[in-house]
Amino acid sequence: MTDRIVGARLHYEDSQTLERFLATGGDQGLRKALLELTPQEVADQVTTANLLGRGGAGFEAGRKWSMLRKAPRRYLVINGDESEPATFKDHLLVENDPHQLVEGATIAAYAIEASFVVIYLRGEFALGLERVQQAINEAYARNALGRSIFGSSFSVDIVLQPGAGAYICGEETSLIESLEGKRGFPRIKPPYFPAVIGLYGEPTIVNNVETVSNLPWIVQHGGEAFKELGQGRSTGTRLFALSGQVRRPGPYEVEMTKITFRDLIFDQEYGQGLDPGRELLAFIPGGVSAPWFFPEHLDIPLGQDEVAKAGSMLGSGSVIVMDDSSCPVRSAWRIARFFARESCGQCTPCREGGAWIDKILRRIEEGEGRESDLDLLLDLCDNISPGIKWPPAQTTICVLGPSIPPSVNAAIQHFRDDFLIHIKEGRCPHA
């Protein structure tokens, strides 16, 4: 069986062109959906496939669709805001297989009978925006979009929306606010899902770029075939983004649960290990909101439940490697600083807590810290997310706030000595 689904075309140099797309099975999933299946049958295939959302939360796509409030108008929004640090899989998919994204979005639109579709890409993806708009233009030109697609009774439009630089707009309710022309302030829950109240107050499905990029394959080959890949709840493949201090950073599509972090980081086929003479210090398994892993976690398979059981998350599928030349205090600080800068400011624990953690970690890294700072940091973390547990408790409107403590806590728990050296010697020992 194949281990390439969303990335199947990426090895072609012209993978972004319509010619390559059509020569490699393009449109076949959409044609089959529209001409042979009912919307419900498409949704059933996706439920059978157990396709988990690839945007970070890992929610079953089929189940999300089934939660749509019944209303005459409903919207579909594709989330291509991709700003989680070290996550770059959607960047690759929008630039190098934009037709697959448009086909997948159209299939999803049919399955949920959407009235209107928006593909929202972060504004920095200038080239990606150009390629997706071209793919949309070409789809209209061959009647793969617009009125009566491929002669079926289904009609829909896709509009491309650029973001303008704000990590928080990846959070789905913030994205919807942004799409309504406002600041990207996440909405207060409940309702927990835009499937109840979304864009312009209507039921809306928000799905990630990679999630819908799987749909052409699922429709073509069936949900069962997808489910045969992987194990348990983790079905199909995932495009992992490997970065940091590894010899060959890159995107690697692998069958879920079939390889371990050790394989991904050290195998010749993937990361090819660390620089000569270096040892692994730590790695983050799923974006900077996730608790860190250490060498003892290397043999955990890349699967949703497997990683969750070990106390972290697969999240956005980005794996960040830190070797022993790096400073854990500095890494924790840089992550905290990111959240502090990107907090939308609506909730006090996130806005104030994040800013203080940024400041305190920075002063420790610069050799100006005090021993009491460690307890102070943990106390701040506890104020943001009571108990500092995993999964984190939430006192804020969205989970950006509770995403701050995991790396701070991981660094303090595992590298306390490093912190103390910074404080006692008044400098960073790694600088």
Binding site: A86, F88, E124, L145, S153, G163, E180, A241, I320
Partner: protein
């Protein structure tokens, strides 16, 4: 310098017509304003408000939230060096220091000739090419001092004009498609099918 020119206005009106609610065009229109003037001017915000049916204050409230939307003039090229974790682990802060030296401006400032503005930015999703930077949102990496210097001199000489167009992330984007289907028609078809 100001309101949309005739050509920009027709592009703006096309964008407004795409959405069930015209206010959804606010951010795209801000990008157009930036393309025209280099940044989003007060006059442009007032014009955008007229076009989308909101107020200038609302447009400013929105525009001021987003990092890409500049409310003050910036250089012809905005260079953003990413220092987030994946780039930092591969020397981003050293690159940023080098960039300050090469351009002879501190982070946040614009060179005297108005050519370059240097920014430190958060992750741009180019992490396998770390340390990475963007120039008017066109991506480059991995960069070291030498390749950064050569990037800057190519920008100066105009050698990268094709690869790095002036401001405006929508500058090369044109929608070529029939007008969007009116929501009422979609609603009607839906009702027809249900019968």
């Amino acid at each position: 310098m100001a309101r949309f020119s005739d050509e920009m206005l027709s592009r703006a009106e096309e964008l407004v017509a795409l959405y069930p609610d015209p206010r959804s065009a606010t951010i795209p229109l801000c990008h157009l304003a930036q393309e025209q003037d280099g940044y989003v001017t007060n006059e442009a915000m007032a014009h955008i408000a007229e076009l989308v049916g909101s107020t200038a204050a609302e447009v400013q409230g929105t525009a001021s939230f987003y990092d890409m939307l500049k409310l003050e003039p910036v250089g012809r090229y905005v260079i953003g060096v990413c220092t987030n974790i994946a780039c930092m682990l591969r020397g981003a802060y050293e690159l940023l220091e080098n960039a300050e030296e090469v351009l002879d401006v501190p982070v946040g400032a614009t060179t005297q000739d108005g050519l370059f503005t240097l920014e430190e930015v958060e992750c741009i999703a180019h992490c396998d090419q770390a340390p990475a930077a963007q120039v008017n949102y066109r991506y480059f990496g991995p960069l070291d001092r030498q390749s950064f210097e050569s990037l800057v001199s190519k920008l100066r000489s105009g050698e990268l004009n094709e690869e790095v167009p002036p401001h405006g992330t929508l500058i090369r984007i044109r929608r070529e498609a029939p007008a969007v289907i009116p929501m009422e028609e979609i609603d009607r078809n839906r009702a027809g099918e249900a019968e």
